[in-house]
C-alpha cells in the first residue's frame, strides 16, 4: 500500500506538521497547534496513529496534548502529571515514548510518568525520585531534565533514561528501581581525577539501535556506544569534527548506521562547525564517519540543532530530517546523500519525529 509521511515538529510556539506522499518531494505545512505552547517533543504512535505532544505553558504548567485525527483536533490532559504537594512542581514535559496505548512521559525536574489510557491520565513512576543518589544530581545550566527515553522494543519493562546532568539510568522493572549506567563516559567539566564518576554525566541524547540492543549516546563530552545495555560505554568520537553535539538518530533497519549533528564545541557558540552545515553518518557502528553536506548551507550556518530535532523515517530508502534553532527543516530522502530545505521561518525547533502511515489514513492535518 502507498505510504504517507508526516514530519512532526515540536517548536517554541506549538506543533507544526509537514505532510507528504511517499515520494517525499512536496510537503505541505499545517500548524501551529497546541495553542502555540512551547512544545519539547511531538511523536506519532504508528499502530494507533495517535499524535502526542508534550510541553509546558509558562502560565499553566505541563500538559500532554493529543490528536487522533492527524492534527486536525487536539485535546490536552495533565491529570496525575504532578509531584506530591510540597515537591518542586513539574515545570514542563520534555520527552515522550509510546507503545500502543501506553505512553511514557519524561519531565523537568527529572521524573517519569506513565499513562495506560493513551494520555488521558498519568501515574508517577517514583523510582527516580527515590534513588539514593537523587539529592546529589546536578541540575546543570538548563535545569534537571529527563530528556531521553528509550523503551526496549522487546521488553517494555526495560527502560533507559538520560537526565541532564545526572547521566544515564536503567530500570529493568518498568521504572520502579533504577541504576546508573555511565561507566566509560567522561565529565570534562569536573576537576581532574573526578571525570569518570558513577553518575553526574551530561548526557545529551540516548537512542537504541535498530534490530539490536545496542545503545548510542551523544554526550556533552563525547559520543559513545554500548553493547551491554549501558553497563559500559565505548568512545566512537574519532573521526567526528567535534565531540560536542545534541541529537542522534538511528537508521530504521541497520544497527550500524547512525546520524549525528556535531556542533563546533561547548564554549565556541554551539553552531555548525566552520559555519557549514553537515550531518555525520556512520555505516559501521561508529568506527568511521562521513560528512553529508550535499544541499545543506555551506556558509554562515550559525544555527544549532537541539537534542530531539533529528529523525529518520521507516521508508526504503530511509528519510532523514532535522530542524534548526533558526526554524528551518532540512530533509533527505536518500539516507543523507542529498538534502533540501522543506520548511523555514518557523519558531525554534525543539523536536523532529516522523510518522509513516498507510495512504488510506489520509484525511487529517
Amino acid at each position: 500500500m502507498a505510504k504517507r509521511v508526516l514530519v512532526l515538529l515540536g517548536t517554541k510556539k506549538g506543533v507544526f506538521i509537514l505532510d507528504s506522499d511517499e515520494s517525499r518531494h512536496a510537503w505541505s505545512l499545517a500548524g501551529p497547534f497546541c495553542e502555540t505552547w512551547p512544545i519539547q517533543h511531538a511523536i506519532g504512535e504508528p499502530v494507533t496513529g495517535a499524535i502526542y505532544a508534550g510541553g509546558g505553558s509558562e502560565w499553566f504548567g505541563p500538559a500532554v496534548w493529543k490528536s487522533n485525527d492527524l492534527g486536525r483536533t487536539w485535546t490536552h490532559s495533565r491529570a496525575g502529571l504532578a509531584y506530591e504537594a510540597g515537591e518542586v512542581p513539574v515545570k514542563t514535559v520534555w520527552s515522550l515514548a509510546a507503545r500502543g496505548d501506553a505512553l511514557y512521559v519524561g519531565v523537568e525536574p527529572a521524573g517519569l510518568f506513565r499513562s495506560d489510557d493513551a494520555g488521558e491520565t498519568f501515574t508517577h513512576l517514583d523510582g527516580l525520585q527515590k534513588h539514593p543518589t537523587r539529592a546529589e544530581w546536578n541540575p546543570g545550566g538548563a535545569g534537571l531534565i529527563l530528556h531521553s527515553l528509550v523503551i526496549d522494543r522487546a521488553d517494555t519493562r526495560k527502560i533507559w533514561v538520560g537526565i541532564s546532568a545526572a547521566g544515564v539510568f536503567h530500570s529493568a522493572d518498568g521504572g520502579a528501581t533504577w541504576e546508573p549506567r555511565n561507566r566509560g563516559t567522561r565529565s570534562d567539566f569536573m576537576p581532574e581525577g573526578q571525570r569518570y564518576p558513577e553518575f553526574g554525566q551530561c548526557v545529551h541524547c540516548v537512542v537504541q539501535a535498530a534490530n539490536s540492543e545496542r545503545l548510542y549516546q551523544q554526550n556533552h563530552c563525547g559520543m559513545y556506544s554500548s553493547d551491554d545495555g549501558g553497563r559500559s560505554w565505548n568512545s566512537i568520537e574519532a573521526g567526528l569534527p567535534s565531540s560536542f553535539g545534541f541529537p542522534a538518530a538511528i537508521h530504521p533497519r541497520d544497527p550500524d548506521t547512525l546520524y549525528l549533528l556535531p556542533l563546533n564545541g561547548d564554549i565556541k557558540g554551539r553552531y555548525m562547525p566552520d559555519a557549514k552545515a553537515a550531518v555525520w553518518r556512520t555505516r559501521d557502528g561508529g568506527a568511521s564517519w562521513q560528512a553529508l553536506r550535499n544541499g545543506l548551507p555551506q556558509e554562515s550556518a550559525f544555527f544549532g540543532v537541539l537534542r530531539q530535532a533529528l529523525a529518520t523515517d521507516t521508508l526504503d530508502q530511509a528519510g532523514v530530517y532535522f530542524g534548526t534553532s533558526s526554524g528551518s527543516v532540512y530533509a533527505s530522502r536518500d539516507e543523507g546523500e542529498t538534502w533540501g530545505c522543506i520548511a523555514q521561518h518557523l519558531p525554534m525547533i525543539s523536536s523532529v519525529e516522523t510518522l509513516v502511515l498507510d495512504e488510506a489514513a489520509r484525511g487529517g492535518a
Binding site: E35, E58, G61, A85
Partner: protein, 93 residues
C-alpha cells in the same frame, strides 16, 4: 451582574478560555476561599485546577488572582459578592 446569594462573581482569563473552550468567561460560583474556588472550577472543567495552581501548592507564578482588586493567594477568603478576576501575567518574547 452580582451573584446569587452567597455566591461570588468570577471572570476567567481569555488564555484559560482558549484552553477550555467550554468554559464560561464569567460565572457565579460558591466558594469560601480561593482554594475552594479553584476546586470548584476544576470540578466543572477537569484540568483547569492544575492550570491555575501548582503542587507547591500555590497559585502559579504567572497567573494572578485578583479578589476585589487585590492580588490573592490560595488562602484568601471570598465573602459573598466578591469580584474575582483570574488573569495571566504579561510575558516577553
Amino acid at each position: 451582574m452580582t451573584g446569587a446569594a452567597g455566591n461570588i462573581d468570577v471572570r476567567l482569563s481569555p488564555l484559560l478560555l482558549r484552553l477550555f473552550p467550554d468554559a464560561e468567561p464569567r460565572l457565579d460560583i460558591a466558594a469560601d476561599n480561593v482554594c475552594a474556588l479553584i476546586d470548584a472550577l476544576d470540578a466543572r472543567w477537569p484540568g483547569m485546577g492544575d492550570c491555575i495552581r501548582d503542587s507547591s501548592p500555590a497559585v502559579r507564578r504567572h497567573v494572578s488572582i485578583f479578589v476585589d482588586g487585590r492580588r490573592a493567594t490560595l488562602d484568601t477568603k471570598l465573602p459573598p459578592g466578591t469580584d474575582v478576576f483570574i488573569l495571566t501575567a504579561i510575558s516577553g518574547g
